[in-house]
């Protein structure tokens, strides 16, 4: 039989339905590939035994179903970002402070996936509490990008914070993976790894049981190998959850059905503010290439302005840390996870949090505490919220005239591990194209569209109005087809090099 790790979710779904493959075999192939990929450090926890059980149960359901209903992801092995709480299975959020934490509950998203028949391969590595753009802030160490510059064996970052999920999909050891995106944590790693990553509309996917970073920005979504796979997986993840007050009651459409391949007459906005000084020429060229593909497919390109774009990143780096400083207060050593004793309660807090949080998390907790403090609140937090409203209004105004927006996903290709880790500002700039959609709560997707001169994947981003993932997917599908991106990383990690 052909290598089962080389097929996508849609193809596997058909082969499983025809009985040509079993979930047990499909899962075994991915579990083996996962085990073989340890040099990438993409997984925090591997669950091959559980995967085997779930796969067998799936095959049993399918054989009993007798042609009846099976789940949308029946038998499909997935990796889960270690930010999603999984019942009885270590959940670390990439942090030392959650040492040994095994939740007694299952996040709504993973619960929905298992109900849709999916199989869990394990938990993926990530930046600590999803704070990072390179997966270097994880307590479990950095994830190595499956991609390398040809002829150069230096390890590159996979992007972040969903670096482990992106690497698992790009490295062909998970068919798909859950991820979360607060400022670009799905789309940027997808761009860096040649995968498809979608951040849906805020409220599409329940946040219940997902370790919170910045509640008003966090949104879960899928990373997959193709746009179709992505649409299938999001369909299983999305939906109203009464346990999340910010969850949307919008109906979940059939996202896959939106992939008509027809974008004729659609108006695609190209925002002038996304042209950055010093942006690599190949990013600019890729963008122009994308514009050309959509034109050729019959879409109309419209130059637009999103005037407040330049304030997005500063506003984001006030709002996200502010919320994080409060969200992370519960990690205090009192009830779960790490505790480092002290002579009194205050010292226990100090010792625990000093030992439990890494440098980036500490930096953001400090920034967040500062911007919420008496005397600074109005100048920072309140002003950032005003900027956020203006940015949202920019998008609303734009969507009066265009159906979607096309931009690059990230200002560069993957960079080397350690290259930016001492320079937070340069690191934060990675999210310059992705952050605005988080502030507005709008959906966005990154599609692999080409390779850099060095042979590294580059992505294009499609943004769409709130709850219009269908248009977003339709355009993404056309870009994907036009780009014909078939490149794969060489599996250097298997040869032990």
């Amino acid at each position: 039989m052909a290598d089962l790790t080389e097929i996508g979710i849609a193809e596997a779904r058909d082969l499983l339905a025809k009985g040509e493959i079993s979930s047990v075999d499909l899962t075994a192939a991915h579990s083996a590939a996962t085990a073989a990929a340890q040099p990438l450090n993409a997984m925090v926890t591997e669950t091959p035994e559980l995967a085997k059980e779930m796969a067998a149960a799936s095959d049993a359901r399918r054989s009993q179903a007798d042609g009846g209903e099976v789940g949308a992801l029946e038998g499909i092995p997935l990796a889960i970002k270690d930010l999603f709480c999984t019942n009885g299975i270590l959940t670390t959020a990439g942090s030392h402070i959650l040492d040994g934490f095994k939740p007694a509950y299952e996040s709504t998203i993973t619960d929905k996936l298992w109900n849709a028949g999916a199989v869990m391969l394990g938990k993926t590595n990530l930046d600590e509490f999803a704070m990072g753009s390179s997966n270097e802030t994880s307590y479990h160490g950095p994830v190595n990008n499956p991609w390398r510059v040809k002829g150069d064996d230096r390890n590159l970052v996979p992007g972040g914070s969903s670096g482990g999920s992106a690497a698992a999909v790009a490295g062909r050891f998970a068919m798909g993976a859950t991820a979360t995106d607060t400022g670009g944590s799905i789309r940027q790693p997808a761009a860096f790894t040649g995968t498809v990553g979608c951040k849906p509309t805020y409220g599409r996917c329940s946040r219940w049981g997902v370790v919170a970073f910045a509640s008003s920005l966090d949104q879960a979504g899928p990373i997959t190998r193709s746009v179709r796979d992505n649409a299938i997986m999001l369909g299983a993840m999305a939906g109203y959850d009464p346990k999340d007050s910010t969850s949307s009651q919008h109906d979940v459409p059939d996202f896959e059905a939106a992939l008509t391949g027809d974008v004729r007459g659609l108006k695609i906005g190209v925002p002038k503010e996304y042209v950055l000084d010093g942006m690599p020429g190949e990013i600019e060229a890729l963008w122009q290439q994308g514009i050309g593909w959509l034109k050729d497919a019959g879409a109309e390109i419209v130059d637009i302005s999103l005037p407040h774009t330049k304030y997005a990143l500063p506003a984001y780096y006030i709002i996200a840390p502010a919320e994080a400083s409060s969200n992370l207060a519960r990690y205090d050593g009192v009830r779960f996870g790490l505790r480092v004793e002290g002579k009194d309660l205050t010292e226990m807090y100090e010792n625990t949090r000093a030992a439990g949080f890494g440098a980036e998390v500490r930096r953001r907790v400090l920034i967040g505490t500062y911007v919420l403090s008496a005397g600074y609140y109005d100048a920072y937090y309140l002003k950032a919220q005003k900027v956020r409203r203006l940015i949202t209004q920019d998008f609303r105004d734009a969507y009066e005239t265009v159906d979607a927006i096309l931009t690059p996903s990230a200002p560069s290709a993957a960079f080397a591990i350690g290259e930016k880790s001492d320079d937070p500002i340069s690191m934060y700039l990675n999210d310059v194209f992705t952050v605005p959609a988080n502030l507005a709560g709008h959906p966005g997707i990154s599609v692999p569209a080409g390779l850099s001169k060095e042979g590294l994947p580059l992505g294009l981003q499609v943004l769409a109005p709130a709850f219009d993932e269908e248009t977003m997917y339709r355009i993404a599908g056309v870009l994907e087809a036009a780009a014909g991106f078939t490149a794969e990383p060489e599996k250097w990690w298997r040869s032990g090099s």
Binding site: F84, A104, G209, V211, S216, S326, R335, F336, A374
Partner: protein, 484 residues
Amino acid sequence: MSNLIEGATGQWEVVIGLEVHAQVTSQAKLFSGAATAFGAEANSQVSLVDAGMPGMLPVINEVAIEQAVRSGLGLNAKINTYSVFDRKNYFYADLPQGYQISQYLQPIVGEGVVTVNLEDGSSRDIGVERLHLEQDAGKSIHDRHPTKTYIDLNRSGVALMEIVSKPDMRSAEEAGAYVRKVRAILRYLGTCDGNMEEGSMRADVNVSVRHPGDDLGTRAEIKNVNSIRFMQQAIHYETTRQIDILEDGGTIAQETRLFDAQTGTTRPMRSKEEAHDYRYFPDPDLLPLEFSDEFVEAIRATLPELPDDKKQRYMADLGLSEHDAQVLLAERDIALFFEAVATGRDAKVAANWVQGDFFALLGRAELDVADSPISGDQLGGLIDLITDGTISGKIAKDVLEMMFESGQDAGVIVEEKGLKQVSDTGALEGEIDKVIAANGDKVAEFQGGKVKVLGWFVGQIMQATKGKANPQMVNQLVREKLKP
């Protein structure tokens, strides 16, 4: 004004503002489905949300919203159909999330007014600044172990209404009257049980002093006072302390203080260095709370008659004195009981029975009205038997005691014990004749002009009939028979 205090440097006025924390009567907590019963085993009523577990999210309990609106209406306050939940950030071991969800800039209820009734019969209006919803914290237990602290999270997340008054009170008496009135209103509304000893109601007391006409002085906040008596003691102590400091040329520190019930004094709770910056900001896990005017009106339509309206009605329609009205409506349970007794009967008679014999029996048994072994209808039934002449008022007092012991209806007791009044002229005449025949000397006295002897005769008959004779009838018959 009698509230002013004479000091060495002139007259002083105390200014008091109260923050009353009232636990919302609800089966579930403010943002989780966990139960709220008092006295449950430690940590047995804790959901994942209340314990601040990773990834857990709050979902507002609609009952709590209704109760807050209801309370706001009862306090004659403005209802804000748009309000916002904020996080109040601070670290403590019994605060699992590391923040309390509260309402800071945009509370669910705005300004209102409470009319308090003072002992001298006067009343005063005290302004309400706002009412907001917030979560309670858990409980730290320090006295079970020499070095360890135990945490009970049963209260963590319980819904509280914080009712903030304006600094409108000028004496401990007014403060006490205010708390009693707020408690009565909430009890009438069924939005808080008002049990201070169980912690479902407690107050933070802000006290400052000034010379009349001056600007407000610096205040001290006395935290978590859990009885009206303690609150008044604390105000007295704090007033004296502050006047002494100011008259000695000192200044008052704006600080949080604790009341020590053992010594009747207050002492500083936190030092300035630890003064909290709570870093309030809107809780991003919760959308702003919005509801329609129709929602408010639907709640308004179900409001019960509240104390001030009741007082009006008791005096105007039922003809009760202000004092009687005040006593009978001070507690909702008493008012309900009284109204059951008074319905279809003479309200003044009903008021007398409730406040007199019935209260005496309750007091002796150390029971609240709610635990009374007899209902208002039953007491009304007893009054009916007096009214229709079945029993005398004197017998009725005995019957009430028996009712209280057995819980039986008056009619049943009267029947079983044969206590019916004898109004049969024939039977009474026989008894009277016997007495007259045996007491010729008394007869002579009466006929000689000693009219008082009549009472002696009636007494004899009543005794002979074991009190069952109809006294009026006996009186009349004896008078006729003694006529020369």
